[in-house]
Subunit: 179 residues, 2 copies
């Protein structure tokens, strides 16, 4: 059973069985985007958390995180930093590697974008194991700025990301507790 | 020499030589995102074009197109459709292949998101040869909806995308006429 707020966000999230592989139920947020009401609800909630966390900059995790962070950045007129997979950012970068189910992956952030005194709200669409967002949060922390909150629309609680992200302030709008 | 509007957008675009390979000058729009003034200007201009084109839906090209389309969708409360690389969208899709400098690539759009009567504004960050956005525009046209405009922040005119996109209404905020 999903646990969410007063808006029927669960009804706006398409569930696709056996994607990307057999036995996995995929929570698809693209169906939120085609509903201006659902999308607006998510941005409003992200904004409330951003203000609570007194963030003065946003960081978006590639690629679906862009969809929720960019409207918030535009609305609140805050700088938006990108967290991208290795090789996508053209400038000098900070890098962090992290472990996936099979193998390793690497994320990068432009060094020039990270500035002293930033209080960063990290934004993604969905937190599963929390591996990527933990790597991003730790990267910013190591670079000397504060990660004041982590926001995602969906949290897959049954994958125990809360434990992985211990020490960070995490807000998700809906949590799924089983497949 | 760049040709743009009254705002100094050129000053907000980082130029990175030899990326992604030797001899290529990369126009980096991530430096727009860290300037709320520059980012706001781009969204305002996209909004003006969207209203002119009387679009009632937006489509964003992965991944940097998400950054400009999502704020516009949120602001105008329009449905946002994603144009993604092969294998990223979980539902049933329309597909189109197109030719890259070396080899072929494929884009997809969720079938369920394409609805009769849509007047779509296609959004990307930068148009180079125009190959990807042409494939997306033709995909929507073939699916029976109208592509009422194509918007990008940057147009690399020296790569002759205007010719490739002939027949579509194209708006870019700044054009570069040589490297």
């Amino acid at each position: 059973m999903p646990v969410g707020g007063d808006f029927d966000l669960d009804g706006a999230i398409r569930k696709v069985p056996d994607f990307p592989k057999q036995g996995i139920l995929f929570y698809d947020i693209t169906s939120i985007l085609t509903s201006p009401q659902a999308f607006g609800y998510c941005i409003d909630q992200a904004q409330a958390f951003c203000l609570e966390a007194r963030a003065n900059a946003l960081a978006a995790v590639e690629a679906r995180g862009f969809l929720f962070a960019a409207p918030l950045a535009a609305r609140l007129q805050l700088p938006l930093l990108l967290v991208r997979k290795k090789g996508k950012l053209p400038g000098e970068t900070y890098r962090a590697s992290f472990t996936l189910e099979y193998g390793q992956d690497e994320i990068e952030v432009h060094k020039a974008d990270v500035k002293k005194g930033q209080r960063i709200l990290l934004v993604d669409d969905l937190i599963a194991t929390g591996g990527t967002i933990k790597a991003a949060a730790d990267l910013f922390t190591a670079a000397g700025v504060t990660v004041t909150g982590i926001f995602a629309v969906v949290g897959l609680s049954f994958l125990s990301y809360e434990k992985v992200l211990e020490g960070y302030e995490v807000r998700t709008l809906i949590q799924y507790h089983g497949e």
